[in-house]
């Protein structure tokens, strides 16, 4: 008998029919002789609807009251899912974060889990109950309700799996696993049977939005075996774990990220400390910089180019215009970052060359390049990004 934690996102429980389908998955797992703890998100668009309702009343509500409001979504879906399981004749109980004992810090809207009590969960499991736990919630030291930010329900699931040393934590999504590229863009994309935590982290941060980074980091830290699987198709998903057996692939995935803008500051003095000053300025304003390129400019000056997330573009430009009034500052929104990820490339030369060859073969110009131990990213024209993705994917996989 195993202990399995299953997490279902908002689209998996969006209506009565989907809730019944999810109840079927859960009770099948239970019928196989497993203990089952389920973590569930708010139904479909509930959270957006609640945010809209709040803004009708107050353009800037406090985050504490916003969390009080939003967590009703998960409580409701947990109760409804429990009712669907009752209808199938299985013992079940739904629980909120305060009932489980999920404590967090006090950063309303973006709290971090501190501890999870296993007392109530163990007691319900001892009574052979299926447990439905409202995701995304925590309780701070004031006994106030917090929410865990984006991907919060994934984090709840992994944290519960870590606390109870569950045998497996299944994250059910719209897709049936992690693919070597977005299957909608690259028709030859293949589903991976296994992937390491680090590869998953690189893929997640590169725009392959299957799992939120925080939950993968947590899973890595506590060695929780994750499985990404579909709530619509009953097929095995992708296992995320520390060591991936069998013939390791050179490349595990190709990802594209459109949420990126290139900014260039032209004609900076070519003296020490210029880059330091520029990037510490951006850092102080919470703007993360990704790829950086420094080049020699005219007349003994230098130019510095870098990429930021598109939603930070305006803030970054405002700061730069204020601090560098004498320099030309340009930016380009029409770019994409395309990356290959794979722990196999650590011990393999020629990955970069093969990637650049693939881009050359379809006539794509590379604007910037960035590399890490298990990743190579290039910045290219956004109009070229789909054909670049397919070309790189098919070259490697």
């Amino acid at each position: 008998m195993s202990l399995i934690v299953q997490k279902f996102g908002g689209s998996s429980v969006a209506d009565a029919e989907r809730i019944r389908r999810v109840a079927g998955i859960i009770t099948d797992t239970y019928k196989d002789g497993n203990d089952v703890i389920v973590v569930v998100s708010a139904q479909g668009d509930t959270t957006d609807d609640l945010i809209e309702k709040a803004h009708e009343i107050n353009a800037k509500p406090s985050k504490r009251e916003m969390d009080m409001l939003l967590t009703t979504g998960e409580q409701a879906s947990a109760a409804l899912l429990a009712m669907a399981i009752e209808a199938l004749g299985f013992p079940v109980t739904s629980l909120n974060a305060w009932q489980v004992g999920i404590t967090s810090d006090s950063k309303y809207s973006n709290a971090r889990i501190k501890t999870i009590s296993d007392e109530r969960l163990r007691r319900e499991l001892d009574q052979h109950k299926i447990i439905i736990c409202a995701g995304f919630q925590g309780i701070n030291k004031f006994d106030d309700i917090t929410t865990l930010g984006r991907g919060g329900s994934d984090t709840t699931a992994v944290a519960i799996a870590a606390t109870l040393r569950a045998d497996l934590c299944q994250i059910f999504t719209d897709v049936d696993g992690v693919y070597t590229a977005d299957p909608r863009k690259a028709p030859n994309a293949k589903k991976l049977n296994e992937i390491t935590y680090d590869e998953m982290l690189e893929l997640a941060s590169l725009g392959a939005q299957v799992l939120c980074n925080r939950s993968v980091e947590l899973a890595k830290k506590y060695r929780v075996n994750l499985e990404v699987c579909s709530s619509f198709k009953r097929v095995p998903g992708t296992i995320v774990k520390e060591d991936v057996k069998v013939e390791k692939m050179l490349i595990t995935g190709v990802a594209k990220d459109n949420n990126v803008t290139r900014i260039s500051v032209i004609g900076l003095d070519d003296i020490p400390g210029v880059a330091f000053k520029l990037f510490s300025l951006l850092g102080q304003n919470n703007i993360n910089v990704d790829i950086i390129l420094q080049s020699i400019g005219r007349h003994g000056t230098k130019d510095i180019s870098f990429t930021v997330a598109s939603d930070n573009t305006q803030t970054a430009l405002d700061i730069l215009h204020e601090c560098y009034p004498d320099n030309t500052i340009t930016h380009d929104d029409n770019v994409s970052k395309v990356s290959v990820v794979g722990s196999g490339m650590q011990s393999n030369a020629g990955v970069a060359a093969k990637m650049f060859e693939a881009l050359y073969s379809v006539g794509v110009n590379i604007q910037m390049i960035s590399t890490s131990e298990i990743k190579i990213s290039v910045l290219i024209d956004r109009n070229d990004s789909d054909k670049a993705l397919v070309a790189i994917h098919d070259a490697f996989i």
Copy 2:
């Protein structure tokens, strides 16, 4: 400085505009230098919508999960009301029953409050915060969420007022007070400035649905001064308390109840124990009987007539047909109970006579009569009920 508890029902917070109006009432009370604790119900039709959602998934969900689902309604309206108060610039915090510490028994869907902790409430008041408390909820000994049944938010408000010895508990409703009769039926109905708990209890049980009986009973037990007032009109309401000063009115109100059916069992043996057997049978099946009339039938038999709440009619008829297969059983749905209530009638003869005279003057036939110390009820044809109400009202008031 006084401590005032204010309760707002679902229709008072049905949309953003109404929530803003209620926030205005609350902050005006706070600006007058009072401590304010607010108890709020779910918005408008939220509860009905949630029940419908549940029934799409499970025709007979457990009451535990139903309570888990329904209490999200009060939590959401508490948060939204708090946001509206924040928008006006006042310090506020919303709280659930588990955060306040409202414990109840474990009768899901119809629980009774056991204790209320004053710790959290006092702490927030000490910080000069307006408190918005989700009504209708409790927490049982398992740390599970319960609901308090019909009129539950009224009960929450009165129980909090009793615990903190509040100076006043204001129940805001659609009407601006308690009237001598339903103003929509009797145009001459007058608003009462004051009424005793007992009179209010008789009126409430007679179909004047202003306050739920449990909350009035609780207010009477703990001597909580209640005020029934309007969330739409800023005028003084009706005070409910133990001793009503000034010239006591003979009659404080006239009420009509259409939720009533007359049932007759014809030709019972005229021997001892017949009535006992009949009514204990109904009692065992949780059917409350109201007015009872026994009359001599033909050939040494007797007939027994009584009234039950209309929703119990079919159950009562089924039982009677099974147990009295040889007797004729008739019933009449087209009846109304019209009652006069007033503690003044205890020391006044002639109230019944005056009531019957009023009915005679408009040609209404009395089918059954029932009296208590502060109440006289008659059963009449439902088609006559409105004119009977007006005639009785105008005779007394």
